[in-house]
């Protein structure tokens, strides 16, 4: 078991956002977290990343409390793929990916040839070599998302936490990112991600956790946890979950107008 949360309560100093969260993250598995806006997903992610101290319960990485790790030690195990990545200055894609090496080199060091090779390798693995010298501020949203995934690879962590990796991407880029997630799982990485499309659970997740008002209300395989009933409970609307032959998996879509049952 790589990361475990037991009866975890999380939130900000003095403000409880959620509690009673029990999760297990394993190598070569994808855990998908879903829930309506404001249910506490982002706060839970910040806690899992060791950026917020747990308010109660246990959160352990390899059996050791997360808050005992130094930032750089933690970053060697766990990588974070933010939604868009902050880019205020026009660093090149290579420079952005090379930043992943911060946790592996001395405080006063600059990246070595070895670090640059690893960054280049991560770019090549995701087919992004052609972007290497482009400014991160000038590439498309999909390219940025892939660059941030490449950065997580260059960090050489075992667990990657992705905050809505498909948010605001077009259909093609969503497919690319989902394919990429499956490939990373295949290579042995543990992945925790959040999404707003329940169909994505069927596309890449091994287990799904549904979150409502700071609590996990349902957890299990996509087949068991993502049903019209659980989704109605979660989002308060009628959602159809049906197998689509052409895609080879279940697809979810909200029922509208006369298809709504009430």
């Amino acid at each position: 078991m790589m990361m475990t949360a037991r009866d975890l309560a999380f939130g900000y100093r003095g403000t409880l956002v959620g509690e009673g969260v029990t999760l297990a993250v394993e190598a070569a598995r994808v855990l998908c977290l879903m829930g309506p806006n404001g249910c506490g997903k982002t706060t839970l992610f910040r806690t899992l990343l060791g950026l917020l101290p747990p308010l109660a319960g246990r959160l352990e990485l390899h059996g050791r409390p997360v808050m005992e790790f130094s930032r750089s030690e933690f970053a060697r195990h766990v990588a974070y793929v933010p939604q868009a990545g902050s880019s205020y200055f026009p660093f090149s894609v290579t420079e952005v990916v090379t930043m992943a090496r911060a946790s592996r080199i001395g405080a006063f060091a600059t990246p070595s040839a070895h670090d640059r090779e690893i960054a280049q390798g991560a770019l090549e693995r995701l087919g992004l070599q052609h972007l290497a010298s482009r400014p991160f501020t000038e590439i498309s949203g999909g390219e940025r998302q892939m660059t941030l995934i490449a950065r997580a690879l260059a960090q050489e962590a075992e667990l990657v936490v992705m905050d809505e990796p498909t948010a605001s991407l077009d259909f093609g880029n969503q497919a690319k990112v989902l394919d990429c997630i499956n490939e990373l799982r295949g290579s042995g990485l543990a992945i925790v991600l959040s999404t707003h499309d329940p169909g994505h659970a069927f596309a890449c997740a091994d287990s799904v956790a549904l979150m409502k008002r700071g609590r996990i209300i349902c957890e299990g395989t996509p087949q068991a946890a993502v049903t019209p009933e659980t989704l109605r409970n979660l989002y308060g609307v009628e959602i159809a979950v049906e197998f689509m032959r052409g895609a080879g998996r279940n697809i979810c879509a909200p029922a509208l107008g006369r298809f709504r049952k009430e």
Binding site: S72, A79, P82, F89, E95, T110
Partner: protein, 349 residues
Amino acid sequence: MSKGEALSGIGKQGRAARLRGVVPPVLLLIVVVLALFAGKYDVSPSDMALVVWSRLTGTPSGLDSTVETVVWNVRLPRVLAGLLVGASLAAAGAVYQGLFRNPLVSPDILGVSAGASLGAVGGIFFSLPVLAIQSMAFAGGLVAVALVYLVGSAVRGRDPILVLVLAGVAIGALLGACISLLKVLADPYNQLPAITFWLLGSLASITRADAFSILPAVLLGLAPMVLLRWRMNLMTLDEEEARALGMETGRLRLLLVAAATLMTAAAVSVSGIIGWVGLVMPHIARGLVGPDFGRLLPASLMLGGGYLVGVDALARTVAQIEVPLGILTAVIGAPFFLWLLASGRRGWQ
């Protein structure tokens, strides 16, 4: 793109950036040479070389002592001080702009200039000797930023950067009020002109001792910037992103703010308040060599130093009287900056 270039991430743009990287040192060299010869007293190049040579080797130059004084006691100290002050302001600006993720930030965002001003104005008000005024300016700058930092870290649970900036604005306003009070109370015939002159900045009365006295503080501030030049790049990311990459952002920010504040306080303690250099020069440097701090820092140092030496040369040649530097840097810097913005090609670079 060759394999080697692909590895280091240097493509066509990288080569162009490298070419543009030659601009700062070349400009610096030209400006320094011009500044050494600019002034009311004409010095020939051979006399200039002779004076420097004789001073360095200790052999008599055989020249008129006026020439020696002009070169050795007036022009060289001013050029040296201009280099130090301009380079310090620009380096501090480059650090602050990165830390605050905002290309429009200047080194006085955390109140270092306001604190230094209050220190100096207080020194002038109590008719202290020059050295004491400089020390009070230096200490005032450091204390003001320390105060801002303490207030900023006392407020928790918000974006630390935003809290720092807001604390800087509030404490800056408070210090400004104190300065205004002292100006009202000051003797309008002796003290007020001195205060006004200090607040506008000048290198007119600078001595070689002044230039050397700030050198340790400048170097001490520069050291962490050079050592942390690569980590500085990560400090421009969002707080959480940087921490998730393994950065102890709180500690690094404190160290870098301390370094930038030390440099700025040292610079303004001998020159008075000189605006715009720390805002515009890092901005131009970034346009020339890109945002990587390892290249941005030297480019900012050279552009900042060169710019101030050049402006100071103008200050002592354009008019019958010495024009305060703060006026010139704003008159030249602000329109140039507007032009940069209007040409807009490079965006927020």
